[in-house]
Subunit: 216 residues, 2 copies
DNA sequence: TAGATTGTTAATCGATTAACAATC
DNA sequence: TAGATTGTTAATCGATTAACAATC
């Protein structure tokens, strides 16, 4: 019914930043906020913030700005974070453990309900009170529990087979931490969280600074 | 002397993806590769790849494509990954541990040489053979060792003070994993690696799929 | 030679930024 | 009222994509 409203990836990535600022303001009891104030926390301008907030559908009032609680709610709804989704994680290595230990995910709409690993030595151990299960059991369980989100923290070599199994088991969205370029069928959502991409930007900038390539 | 060559962040983030594909080809003994082939691994086209590779300065040959080893070398140089940089990590929590356990960083130009934490219970323990030191000792050590890169894996609350100490100690580039918007002086490089941004994109897309908002 | 692929310039597309009237 | 801030339309900017001659 409602138009699909194509929102840019850039906007989508800024919304959690705003959310963080807004939650801080809410804790302080602030009830309204202007785009100018939010923009002050970042290296882009108030117009950008206003444009981004437009997608939430919340209307501000001139002079006063936007109502903090309304914005928080609207951003969460927009991102799909108001309803927590159950997720499976495959790969009980360091990154997998880090994600399992991250308490805040629930407020970002994510609840990791089970952990799987191919290594029999890891199976049966507990990570943050979650028992590691054999990866072979993942598909059947994912189907039965109607899991929509799969988190991939295995090695680059195993990633494709894990993803294939997830897709076959009805998982619709894959959050991939493996440094591999994965093939997925049409309609499945793949989001890569690659640290090396972020590191590349850092390294390249640092190189320029160290080389004295000053940009004015 | 050489022009600063402003390269887009988007290009910078695609280069590690190419590098990964290229290293795979190198292992297979392939000596040339075309943009078409590389693009086949991703959801963008050959023209994009060719444009990106332009920044490395490597020239291809018509019909044959680019020499794999040349490209690998040139991308590494371009990103500053040919020389390994020593880095300090502050925050021995889950994410800190995950980064310390990540063996491949050296081939991405990063060598984490020391770990710090404010928690006295963590100080003195070992993580992957590295002893956790009190954060108070970080500045003097960073100065003495001329550390350029600081990795921040502390909580949002402590992040700003850690960053301030890093900057005061002469650290030039900060890789931040804390969900906080940090203030840094002019000339310091800040790269945020925020998982929540990536998760936001995933959650939003999944919401659309589950709601049946089909885009054609 | 024929044809795939590069290198480079131009066209398109989309996102950011600017402008400004409306409003509280 | 005056002035800060929103909402919205238009202008700018930059990145992606297309086009095509050159080349191996």
């Amino acid at each position: 019914m409602t138009a699909p409203t194509p929102v840019s990836r850039a906007t989508l990535k800024r919304l959690p930043l705003y959310l963080h600022v807004l939650e801080g303001l809410e804790r302080q009891g602030q009830d309204h906020v202007s785009c100018t104030f939010i923009a002050g926390k970042f290296d882009f301008g108030a117009i950008q913030v206003r444009k981004d907030l437009e997608v939430t559908g919340v209307r501000g009032t001139a002079r006063l700005g936007f109502k903090v609680t309304d914005l928080i709610r609207a951003i969460k709804v927009f991102l799909g974070w108001h309803n927590v989704q159950d997720a499976f994680l495959v790969g009980a290595g360091n990154m997998g453990k880090a994600l399992l230990g991250y308490k805040d995910f629930e407020s970002y709409g994510l609840n990791i309900v089970a952990v799987f690993d191919a290594d029999p030595r890891k199976v049966g151990t507990k990570i943050f009170n979650k028992e590691v299960m054999p990866v072979a059991k993942m598909p059947a369980l994912a189907k039965r529990m109607h899991i929509n989100i799969g988190i991939v923290t295995v090695s680059a070599e195993s990633a494709q087979s894990v993803v294939d199994a997830m897709v076959a088991a009805g998982i619709r969205a894959i959050w991939n931490f493996a440094p591999a370029s994965l093939e997925i069928p049409e309609g499945i959502i793949l989001e890569n969280a690659r640290l090396t991409q972020s590191l590349a930007v850092l390294s390249n900038k640092l190189t320029h600074v160290l080389n004295g390539d000053i940009k004015e």
